[in-house]
Amino acid sequence: MTVLVPVSVDDALAALQSKPGSTLLAGGTDYLVQVNFGHSRPADVIALRRVTQLRNWHRSGDTLTLGAGLTYTDFLDPELASMVPALAQAARTVGSPQIRNAGTLGGNVATASPAGDTLPVLIALDAEVVLQSAERGVRRVPLREFIVGVKRTVRESDELIVEVDVPVLAGGQEYLKVGTRNAMVISVAGVALVVDRVGQNVRCGLGSVGPVPLRCPQAEAYAATEIDWSAMSIHAGALGEFGRLAALAASPITDHRSTAEYRRHVVGVCAARALERVVSTHGGPDHD
């Protein structure tokens, strides 16, 4: 029974190699709840809080590399928020200041909860997860392949999530989430919308409405053809159809937090609203 507190990625990887079954502890906002309620009994723990390397970010061209140890509070930094606004919006909806100060990007990705708030944004951005192990070095896995089920990922037991790469895109972004109040809420449903003006496409990510974060290919294709890309506007009548198509992509269940029907409804409303916020609209909703 050990708690190791490495100060570098190399030390953390060496520790993980010597004890591959170790629990990697980032912010602890999910894991300590399990421990407190007796659902998990840690044996060997590698705490990542002192690996300051993991809290760095840098931009190289149009790629933004985000350290896995960045906290939700870190994402509220105006400079970072300006490059990935939907990620900042999602971060701000997480928990409370206390939770945002502790919880990390890497923790959210590794935990892979269907309700993880950064995940709809990351899948909309086609984020890549960068994993590292002492033995095999670095490998990169697209987020959409990284999460394979409810709280299940393809991370190997000797691997550490070191970074998440996302593109810096020109175009509006939005994250909308529904819960019972504005703070301290686990998402009933969440919708991330990202517009790429250069590539002339729209990407829509959904959270809490399936075992893994989902994309909405039909809705995305529809929006891309309906948007007047030179004016960055869309006919108001297209918003509802976009929402309807997004809702079709959802695969929600009924549980203690909400019903499948309501979750699907939320996706439709929030997707349409998000699109309305990131492009201008023309015409009335009743005309075509």
């Binding site: 029974m1 840690p42 409370s96 502790a102």
Partner: protein, 162 residues
């Protein structure tokens, strides 16, 4: 392999030895049950209520979600570091004066959260105040008097007279 851990924590400027702790013990548990520092309150043990709020390396966090044995090199401050019974901090005094304390269970966490807010933002607007204490549940006051207390400290610190 041993089944217990012994380590030391720097709390409120003093080193405290923890002998034979269990690896999974939260900082909240260690503070209250091992070190005789019961200021941080134990309510939800899942980061929902904020009544166990402490500062770790300058960040406000829920001590129930901190593994104690992982913060051996950190600077920890609890509500016990704020004011004394004879000399309350300005935030504590404002809570008393404004009737922002009823049952008192949430108060230590709120005192930590409000100090943290006003130490970083001397002039928060209403939304910022609400957001700053959104993770601190109070089931008695309805928050109105807490907001009044925060406002009073803000005005006093700015040199104004209430």
């Amino acid at each position: 392999m041993t089944n217990s851990l012994s380590y030391s924590l720097l709390i409120n400027g003093t080193q405290h030895d923890v002998a034979e702790g269990w690896i999974g013990e939260s900082l909240l548990y260690v503070l209250r049950e091992r070190l005789g520092l019961p200021g941080a309150k134990n309510a939800c043990e899942q980061g929902e209520c904020g009544s166990c709020s402490v500062l770790i390396d300058g960040s406000l966090v829920c001590s129930c979600l901190v593994m104690a044995a992982a913060v051996t090199d950190a600077e920890i401050f609890t509500v016990e570091s704020i004011g004394t019974p004879d000399q309350l901090s300005d935030v504590q005094q404002a809570f008393v004066t404004n009737g922002a304390v009823q049952c008192g269970f949430c108060t230590p966490g709120l005192i930590m959260a409000v100090h943290d807010l006003l130490d970083h933002n001397a002039a928060p607007n209403d939304l910022e105040v609400r957001e700053a204490i959104s993770g601190n549940l109070c089931r008695c006051t309805g928050y109105g008097r807490i907001f009044e207390a925060v406002r009073e400290v803000q005005i006093r610190r700015a040199g104004g007279v209430q």
